[in-house]
Structures are given as structure tokens and as C-alpha cells.
């Protein structure tokens, strides 16, 4: 895996997205970035082999904002995740995880292992969106699969 960061370089959200894309690309996903939906865009959309549509909103730290942003897409996707840098503090982790569980939002922690390889940890599994409007979901799916 290519680590896009130079030694001692601070990670940006852009790096976080690109390195996560590299990780996801090893799985069975179709991956789309900056997917426009309504008046904003979804940082990343994954489509799995069952054609589930999964939205991921990336933030370095501001997890509350990430949750609020990803939930804007709830009527057009099946599952929603946020992806943030893994906090060092256990209590903070616990707090974020409990809010994500309550909100039904999945949670990925992004971090670097001891060899400085980028990693993703699925800390919370998402619940299926309760409010999918199939018409809008199909519009999104067909637009993506056409590209």
C-alpha cells in the first residue's frame, strides 16, 4: 500500500480519503468519491456485491459534524458511516461509539499501524437506514453504475 504522506507530514482529510480508498479497493466494493446528492456531496460511496449503497463521510476530528452530514443522505443510501482519526483517549472513543450506535451510524477509525501503514477499523456497524426513499436510492445507484 502506498502511504501518500511524507515523514512527519500532517494528515489532511484529502489524504485520509485517498488512503481509505486504497484500503477499500482491496475489497469487493465499487468506490465513488465526491458523489453529488441534493445540494451537497457524499465524500465516498461504496456499492457492495448486493448493491447496497453505503455513504461515508470523512472528518479528521469533528465527528459530530460528520454524523450530521452523513445523515443528510439517509433517504438515498442503505448504510451510513463516518470515518475519523482514531482518538487516543479511550473515553473519547467510547463516547463517539455510543453516539454512533444511538444514531445508527457506522464508525471507521483511521490510523497508522507500527509500520506506518494506513488502517481502517470498523468500530461500530451501521444499522440499515430506516428512511430510504427507493426512488431516490435507485436514481443515485443508476447514476453511479452508469459512470
Amino acid at each position: 500500500m502506498v502511504n501518500l504522506l511524507l515523514p512527519n507530514q500532517k494528515i489532511t482529510e484529502k489524504h485520509q480519503v485517498e488512503l481509505s480508498e486504497q484500503i477499500f479497493s482491496k475489497g469487493n466494493w465499487k468506490i465513488y468519491k465526491e458523489v453529488p446528492l441534493f445540494s451537497s456531496s457524499i465524500d465516498m460511496v461504496l456499492i457492495d456485491e448486493n448493491k447496497n449503497v453505503i455513504a461515508i463521510e470523512f472528518k479528521l476530528k469533528n465527528w459530530k459534524r460528520a454524523i450530521s452530514q452523513v445523515k443528510k443522505h439517509c433517504i438515498a443510501v442503505d448504510y451510513m458511516y463516518i470515518c475519523i482519526l482514531k482518538p487516543k483517549n479511550k473515553e473519547t472513543q467510547h463516547n463517539i461509539e455510543s453516539v454512533c450506535k444511538k444514531e445508527g451510524t457506522g464508525l471507521y477509525y483511521f490510523y497508522f499501524d507500527e509500520e506506518q501503514n494506513p488502517c481502517l477499523l470498523e468500530a461500530v456497524k451501521p444499522q440499515k437506514s430506516k428512511y430510504v426513499w427507493q426512488k431516490q436510492r435507485e436514481n443515485l445507484l443508476s447514476t453511479l453504475l452508469l459512470n
Binding site: 453529488p36 445540494s39 456531496s41 443528510k72 439517509c74 426513499w133 426512488k135 431516490q136
Partner: protein, 450 residues
């Protein structure tokens, strides 16, 4: 109730919007056209106004000559041709300053009474003669000259300059002098005074008292109001109260007040029982319920749907989310018609399949280059979605006008509070608080439930 105590006004925005104004021409009473716009598309708009027999007024936008000269310039750095054409009808000293020297007008330019009078009358003449002068040589003129059409605007707008608490003294005196000179030449019924103020004036009620006292010294019948970027959905309680105080100050003296950029709150002030009585409200074909005096950038357009129960344009995605969470989308079209909207446009597009609601959100992707050089995709409304949203908006504005003939003000506000409460989990609580503030204001003015 007496139904015709107010004027429904609509603003001519661009030539592309003309088709909507044409479609709804029988539903609105007065067409408002900006002086620079009619100067820019003179033949097209003159013909449109004359042949459709519109009751119209021309806003001479004289305030635009007092701000930074950059606002009068186009991307090429030159004064916009529409402004050049409009100013060409104004006094020589204005042409010299704006066009030759590229300097804006300041109070000291109006020291001479002679120049003031010349300016006032030239601006009035520009409005009075524009359509007829542009129609005389046209084929349609010979047919229309035998009808009762005068080709003249309903009112001639007296030249005006924007006032705030800082420049108040200087421009007030000039504004009043414009009124005086205009009344020397025209009947009061033919004239409209335009009052353009920044919001700081509304923060201090002593300014309001002074404006009402000074303006009503003259025999004025019609007042057009424009408060900078004023939205009743965003304004504080103090600003709203003082807005009503200003309207009431004039309406109590039998002067008809028209809000040139007004939202639903202003429509409610047109209710026959309103203590602060507006005589009309103007807006654009989908926007223009508020407007900044100095132009600001528009950003990327997004699909916005007018959510009638709370009388605001909301991003389509948020409305769709709301309706899905409420269980109206995807199937309950009967509930949609009874609780959300049953306008002609909705019935045409949705019929019995609520999936068609998605057409209001129709969009296409465009790539936008950011300052960093990165390219991002954004959704841009399709022409068809724009058409649907415009027609839906206009039908809804007509519904609002209709509602003030049927219900009491407080009942209407209560309906909006109820809807806002229902929507608050998705749209937030601010709407509830806003309508409760409106309610308090109407009650403080003496409105009662029947």
C-alpha cells in the same frame, strides 16, 4: 371579507423569466421592473408590458448611484451598459459624475435646488416615457393606441437614496426635497415615494418616528418600502416590531405602504384586520422575498422547494428527508395533498404517484474548480426542475393571498406553529420560535382570535 384591499406584486427579474410572468399575469396586480433592466431590454420589455396591458412601475434604482462605483461595473471593468442606458435619461451632472468621472453621487452633489429639481423630473420622465417612446414605432402601437392603454406606469417612483443611521441627516434632506419637487409637478396619486433603509434604522425607533413625521409632512399617497436584506424569518423581535411600527406609522395616516421585497409575514400584514397595514407585497418569480441593497454573489443554485406549511423555500433534499421521515414519501400522496400542498403544479407532476415528487429535485452534475485547483462535483437544478419549482412557488404565493381572505391572522400563524413543531425534529426548532415571535407581535398590536 372585502377581497381587493391589497396588491399582489411581482418583480420582473430576467427576460428568461418573462414566460412565467406571462402565465401568471392575471393573478398579479402590479409588475415591478428595475430601471436598468428595462433600459437593457427596452424593446422586449416595452412590448411585453404594452401588449399584455400590465399595470407596472419602474424602479429607477437611484440608490445604486450612491454606493461604490464597482457595483455599477461589469466584469470588463466598465460601467454596465444597462446603467449607461438608464443614466442617459438622467441629469447632465449625473452622467458626468458616473459615466465620465466614474464617481458616485454624494450629498454635496445636490446642494443646488435647481439641480435637485432637474434630477427629480428627469428621473420621473424616464419612467413616464420609456414604454411609450419604445412603442411608437412598433407595429403593435397602432392597434393599442385606440384602446384605453396609457402606456404609463401606475406610479412614477420619486428618486431616492438609501439611508442608514450614519448618513441619515444628509440623505433624508435630499430625499424629502425630491418628494417636494415631484409633488410640484405631479398629482400625489401619480407618485410613489420609495423608502430604502438599512436595518440599523429599525433598531432605533426614534428614527422611525422621525421618518414618519418628515415624510407625512408631504401629501404622499403611496410608499414603497425596501429594507436591506430584511427577512421576517431571520429578524429579531425588536426589528419586526419596529418594522410594524414603521408600516403602521404610514398606514394610520392613510398612506398605502407596499413592501418591495416581502415574505409571508408581509402577506399577513395585508390582512384586512392587520393593525400595521401593508397594501401590497412584491417578490420575484421564485426568490426576492428579501434583497440586499448592495448586490451580493449568488453562489451555486440549488433545488429549493417552497414548503407551504412553513412558507419558506427549503433545499429539496431536506424536504424529501422530512417527508420520508413523516411517512408521506414514498406513497401517501393523499396525505401529501392534504398536509403539504395541493397546488396545480403538484397535482400535475405527482398525480397519484408520489415518486414523481423527485422531479422537483431534478439535477445534473457540474464540475466546479475550487481555488485550490481541486475539482468537485455539485448538483445543479435542471431547467425542468427549475420550471416546476417556480410554478409551485407562484401557486403557493397565490394560496397565501387567498388564505388571508379566509382566515384570521392568528389562526394562520397558529397553523404554521403547528407545522413547524411537527417538522422540528428534521428542520430544527427555530421555525417554531420564529412563528411564536410573529404571534407575540400580532398580539401586541391587538390582533385577536375571532
Amino acid at each position: 371579507m372585502d377581497k381587493k384591499k391589497y396588491a399582489k406584486m411581482i418583480r420582473y427579474g430576467t427576460v428568461a423569466e418573462q414566460k412565467y410572468i406571462d402565465e401568471f399575469k392575471d393573478d398579479f396586480d402590479i409588475l415591478v421592473i428595475n430601471g436598468n433592466m428595462i433600459s437593457h431590454a427596452s424593446n422586449a420589455i416595452s412590448k411585453f408590458v404594452a401588449t399584455r396591458k400590465f399595470s407596472y412601475i419602474i424602479d429607477p434604482l437611484t440608490h445604486s448611484l450612491q454606493h461604490d462605483i464597482q457595483f455599477l461595473k461589469g466584469n470588463n471593468g466598465k460601467i454596465k451598459s444597462s446603467i449607461v442606458k438608464m443614466i442617459d435619461n438622467f441629469s447632465e451632472f449625473v452622467k458626468r459624475k458616473i459615466l465620465d468621472e466614474e464617481k458616485v453621487l454624494v450629498p454635496s452633489d445636490f446642494e443646488s435646488e435647481k439641480l435637485r429639481k432637474d434630477f427629480a423630473l428627469k428621473v420621473l420622465n424616464f419612467q413616464r416615457n420609456h414604454v411609450i417612446n419604445n412603442s411608437k414605432e412598433k407595429d403593435y402601437f397602432k392597434y393599442l393606441q385606440y384602446t384605453n392603454i396609457t402606456f404609463e406606469p401606475k406610479w412614477l417612483v420619486i428618486p431616492y437614496f438609501m439611508m442608514n443611521t450614519k448618513n441619515y441627516k444628509k440623505w433624508l434632506e435630499i430625499n424629502l426635497s425630491m418628494i417636494k419637487h415631484s409633488l410640484d409637478e405631479y398629482e400625489p396619486e401619480k407618485l410613489a415615494v420609495q423608502l430604502v433603509i438599512e436595518k440599523d434604522i429599525l433598531e432605533d425607533s426614534s428614527f422611525i418616528d422621525d421618518i414618519v413625521e418628515k415624510y407625512t409632512f408631504y401629501d404622499i399617497k403611496t410608499l414603497l418600502l425596501w429594507i436591506d436584506d430584511f427577512s421576517a424569518f431571520e429578524a429579531s423581535k425588536l426589528l419586526l416590531k419596529n418594522f410594524c411600527k414603521l408600516v403602521k406609522g404610514f398606514s394610520d395616516k392613510e398612506i398605502k405602504v407596499y413592501n418591495l421585497y416581502g415574505d409571508y409575514f408581509s402577506v399577513l400584514l395585508c390582512h384586512q384586520n392587520s393593525k400595521a397595514k401593508l397594501s401590497g407585497v412584491c417578490h420575484g418569480i421564485e426568490y426576492g422575498e428579501k434583497r440586499a441593497i448592495v448586490p451580493v454573489g449568488g453562489g451555486i443554485p440549488v433545488n429549493k422547494y417552497y414548503l407551504y406549511p412553513i412558507h419558506q423555500r427549503i433545499e429539496f433534499g431536506r424536504v424529501a428527508t422530512l417527508l420520508t421521515i413523516m411517512g408521506i414519501l414514498p406513497e401517501d400522496y393523499e396525505r401529501y395533498y392534504s398536509e403539504i400542498c395541493d397546488c396545480k403544479q403538484c397535482k400535475e407532476v405527482i398525480a397519484a404517484n408520489l415518486d414523481n415528487f423527485s422531479q422537483y429535485g431534478g439535477s445534473k452534475s457540474i464540475d466546479i474548480e475550487r481555488k485550490t485547483g481541486a475539482t468537485v462535483s455539485r448538483q445543479y437544478p435542471t431547467a425542468e426542475a427549475k420550471r416546476l419549482c417556480i410554478r409551485h412557488f407562484l401557486f403557493n404565493k397565490l394560496k397565501e393571498w387567498d388564505s388571508i381572505n379566509k382566515y384570521e391572522i392568528l389562526d394562520l400563524v397558529d397553523q404554521s406553529i403547528k407545522a413547524s413543531e411537527e417538522y422540528s425534529q428534521v428542520l430544527g426548532y427555530n421555525n417554531v420560535a420564529t412563528f411564536e415571535t410573529w404571534r407575540d407581535i400580532f398580539i401586541s398590536m391587538g390582533e385577536e382570535h375571532e
